[in-house]
């Protein structure tokens, strides 16, 4: 029996209304004193005179969702958080659009700063997501996290 993990992926860019909605939902959680949000945005990088116009994300989805789950468990174990939400784009995300949304909440601020950075670094290094940078002339190169 395979365990089925929550799907962290969303098709396309993450709209700002989606983020607003996630924030608004936490107004009923009255023990929360601090939220910290990380947003990854696609940059129009220049490579050899060509400008990136979009990133096309693919993933080893089953493994990625399992890794997202493991990162979540490890983070709750390490930090005193009230909530944590992660969303990552799949498919095409244009420059200027949001491709990663990480949202942590806690009674106190110290916890959210450390927890958010921990989660983002873990996602970058442990979750099998792949990005094809599409240039304006439709050529491409494969993105590598630094």
């Amino acid at each position: 029996m395979e365990k089925k993990y929550k799907n962290t992926f969303k098709q396309g860019a993450i709209p700002s209304e989606f983020i607003a909605n996630a924030i608004a939902k936490h107004q009923s959680k009255k023990d929360i004193g601090a939220h910290n949000i990380f947003l990854g945005q696609v940059r129009a990088d220049e490579v050899d005179g060509k400008i990136v116009s979009a990133i096309e994300y693919t993933a080893y989805e089953e493994m990625a969702n399992q890794k997202f789950h493991e990162v979540r468990e490890a983070t709750f174990e390490k930090y005193n958080l009230s909530c944590m939400h992660v969303y990552h784009s799949l498919g095409t995300v244009e420059t200027g659009e949001i491709c990663l949304f990480v949202f942590v909440s806690s009674p106190r601020r110290k916890e959210v700063f450390e927890a958010l950075e921990y989660v983002v670094e873990k996602i970058k290094s442990e979750v099998p997501v792949f990005g094809k940078e599409i240039f304006e002339d439709e050529s491409h190169q494969w993105k590598v996290n630094s």
Partner: protein, 77 residues
């Protein structure tokens, strides 16, 4: 042993396919990697890693045949 291998990102671009059946004699991951590099010399240009059953593995890991994947560098976020 027959194994099915998944390819992702630039590796799938090199192979031209996202899954492929492979017959391996050496049951260590290193052996499989060697055969992959023989078939796809361009794999050598990237820092790829192997996963088995959704966990990253090393050269000395034994093949169980369960869900083997070849992963290019991660680029999430």
């Amino acid at each position: 042993m027959k194994v099915e291998i998944k390819y992702f990102g630039m590796l799938a671009e090199i192979t031209g396919c996202s899954t492929e059946r492979f017959t391996v004699v050496d049951l260590k991951m290193a052996g499989l990697k060697k055969e992959l590099l023989k078939k796809y010399p361009d794999f050598a240009n990237t820092d790829f890693r192997m996963a088995q059953n959704k966990e990253l593995v090393t050269d000395t890991t034994l093949l169980t045949g369960k869900e083997i994947a070849v992963l290019p560098p991660f680029a999430g976020g």
